[in-house]
Amino acid sequence: MALYVLRRLALAIPLLFIVSILTFVMVALIPGDPAVRILGAGHTLAQYHALDRKLGLTQPILSQYWHWLDRLLHGSLGSSLFTQQSVGSEISQRLGVTLSLVVGSTLLSLIIGVALGIATAVRQGALGRVIDTLSWVGFAIPNFWLGLILIELLAVTAKLLPPSGYVPLGQSVGAWLKSLVLPVLTLSAVGATGVAKQTRDSLGDVMSSEFISALEIAGLPRRSVVLCHALRNAALPTVTTVGLFAVAMLGGTILVEQVFALPGLGSLAVQAASDHDLPVIEGVVLTFTLIVVVVNLVIDLSYAWLNPRVRLAA
């Protein structure tokens, strides 16, 4: 198992670098000039050249990347071309918001999804078909649209929750929770229904397998067959699905943060993209990728731990 962990970690690092290189190249090849943007209209050529040199934009791409990498290994992500603020600090300020969203929606999806999945798998019938269709509805409703609707219904009309804005955890736990309820609900729609369907499907699959029927014919009561044996086996594909949806919901935070005006990484990304703020874009991409890699690693490790075949492999 330890070997497996090390191997997965070893694979994760090159992955990070490949992604960062790809993004760097893509962004750097973009026409359009940050220097022009910063100076605005009516700048002189001299000012332009000075800024260009200062920002290091005159150098060839490879050396730009090399400098960036060098800086990164020394613990710095550089500074924004526009605000001159350290990219690292901007990201760390906003990271909490995005992480709260992702973790919250993943947990909610997991709890609701698994509970619903178990309930409908054990009892056949209409509820199961409802879950099937509902899971597609959950996916089909664009999260930005759902967010808007929830705001209008629960915040504006019913005045139950704040319509937008974020209160940091340090200020007030209650207000922090309240500011997160609607965004997390919005994000979880697709995750909860998807996990429910997957749990139901894999539990159904497991229930019709040979060893379950062997346990029943050996006289095991239904309850322990399902809860102890079937669930343990169905957990494997479900865990993988939860991971997939966690990554999807991470992407969804970009839109949700816009709708709910939350100062997270997503809104930073949108802003930086319009500004062609290269260091910020790079930093945001790297952070997102890091989160995805960590999520995948957690999923892989959980899977390995649950599955004896992987856990005990040489």
Partner: protein
Amino acid sequence: MSAIAPIEAEAVARGPEPPVPGPPSGRPGGMLRVLLRKPLGVVALIVLGGIVIACAAAPLLAPYGPDASSLGRELAGPGPQHLLGTDELGRDILSRLLYGGRPTLLAAAEATAIALLLGTLLGTVSGYRRGLADRAISLWSDVLLTMPVLVVLIVVVSVFPASLYPAMIPLGVMLSAPPTRVLRAVTLAVREELYIDAARVSGLSHAQIVLRHVLPRIRGAIVVQATLVGAVAVVMASGLAFLGFGVQVPAPSWGSMVAEAASYYQQQPWFLVPTGGAIALTVLSLGLLGDAVRDAGVEVWGGATTTPQRRTRPGAHLVALNKPHEPQRDPGRGGGALLVVSNLVAAVPGGESGELTLVDGISFELSAGRTLAIVGESGCGKSVTARAVLGAPPRGGWLAGSVRFGGLELIGASRGELQTVRGRRIAFIGQEPTASLDPTQSVGSGLAELVRLYSGCPRAKAKRRALELLEQVRINDPARVARLYPHQISGGMAQRVMIARALAGQPEVLVADEPTTALDVTVQADILALLRSLQLSTQIAILLVTHDWGVVAGMADEVLVMYAGQTVEQGPAEAVFHSPRHPYSDLLLRSNPYRAAPGMRLPAIPGTVPAPGRWPSGCRFAPRCPYALESCTAAPIPLLETAKGHYSRCVRIDALQAARAAEAPTTETTGGR
């Protein structure tokens, strides 16, 4: 050899056998036909088609131009003039939706096409070639899946702000990763099929094989992936538009209209509904269509169909199956009988009459220390019978008749009553030992769990007992094996574990359904010896279900021969082997190469076993029987006692015995080689 000749002559005279009449031979490529029978799929197809056509034909269908504004009619609700209302500039929402659908759907189509093209190519190459190409492509997919899609898209689209199309290229590339994965898995599975090997042997090149065999087989999966990717692409494209990317005001696009609707919610809440609804409806129909296509694929190409499990009670017509002239076994007769089965019937839903009988009136008794073997070929109902003894009906079906064990009637018993018997008094071992064990549980912990269940003893004691049981089944080093998981032990070892589990409750009866069929012949001999020695020491009664007459010969005290759901012969083992009283048993024993002269044609039984639901009304073996007469097919044949304890369902025993007597005696009596 004179008896053989008429049989041979018959076989030749019958000529080539007709194919089994099966389902109507329509083209299985009529997956479309199956698809059209699914209501949800049809609706989804119609809705999707409608949306696409409507948007494509926007210039013809839209009541207004996309920019035509009606002053004084801003933010109006739905009405006769404007079916879906108007926006903040008085423009007709319906028209703008129709025009706005075009860039969104086109962009999504572009991304989907790229994703599927790449995905199919990489997936099939990866799954077919394996090796280095596979590893490289998998690494590539890993990289793609790790990239934050929306962020990358935003960056690209910010460069080309006027349209969505350039951003669709990287989207297509990134979205090709899931189809690559899925199509790789499907291709791998197809690659394992033997017809691929046969094609190789015939000299076809790899390219020919992929085109002829692989691609047609995976086209269902390709369509499903296309709908999934399409759904994601629509969501992404509209999401980008919502953020303000890729649109040129005032040109409409679905996502940007939602953004407009958001800012004007106070004045006109309705505005949000059609704008977001269009996106939701399109994605929903894509998703439901994909589900329907996948289900259709499973139906057409086999794999378990999800038939709903009906727990219906047996209908009145089952009563008629209890034929009155059948010799009813007197339940009180067997003095030492542990288990008495009378007129066991098992059926499942299906066939033309709605009910398919699998077992049609089997009766037998089991006594302590004795072995009854049920022997027959596939489809005769022996496995169903084995499970019925534990009160378990066939999947989705039901049981009738009587299975009495120690005063308790097991057919129709409640779950609680069955649980007092299962495992504790009647145990079961099946054909696939490794598959019968929970893969996530170690051998020892599974055994201990059963011990605790049956005896309620504390954990430590249960653990010790588990080790004892492993010793009892002659496993060396039980402590080490107890720590192992099912995938770490061989088939033979797994069957010993299953026997140990069966013994955990100290049962009086063991039902073994083809326990050694999946094992090597030397392992089989060991397992059978183990069962026999356990029987000698514990006096356990064994019901052994098998197709192998050699196994029967060693183990059985009594033999029951099954054919097409019925008992055709039943009696002491010696009698059945040395003087069979049914043509089926006789011919089956004769056609065994063991009894024939090497290199000569075997006296084979012509034809095939009739499937349940297609059983002839008279003697079910008559169509294949060399002694059959008209009287055999006229009416059902009863099971009669022809010699002490030896039953037969045949009215032509005299002819059979005459034929056997005419034969040279050497082939039967010694039987040795």
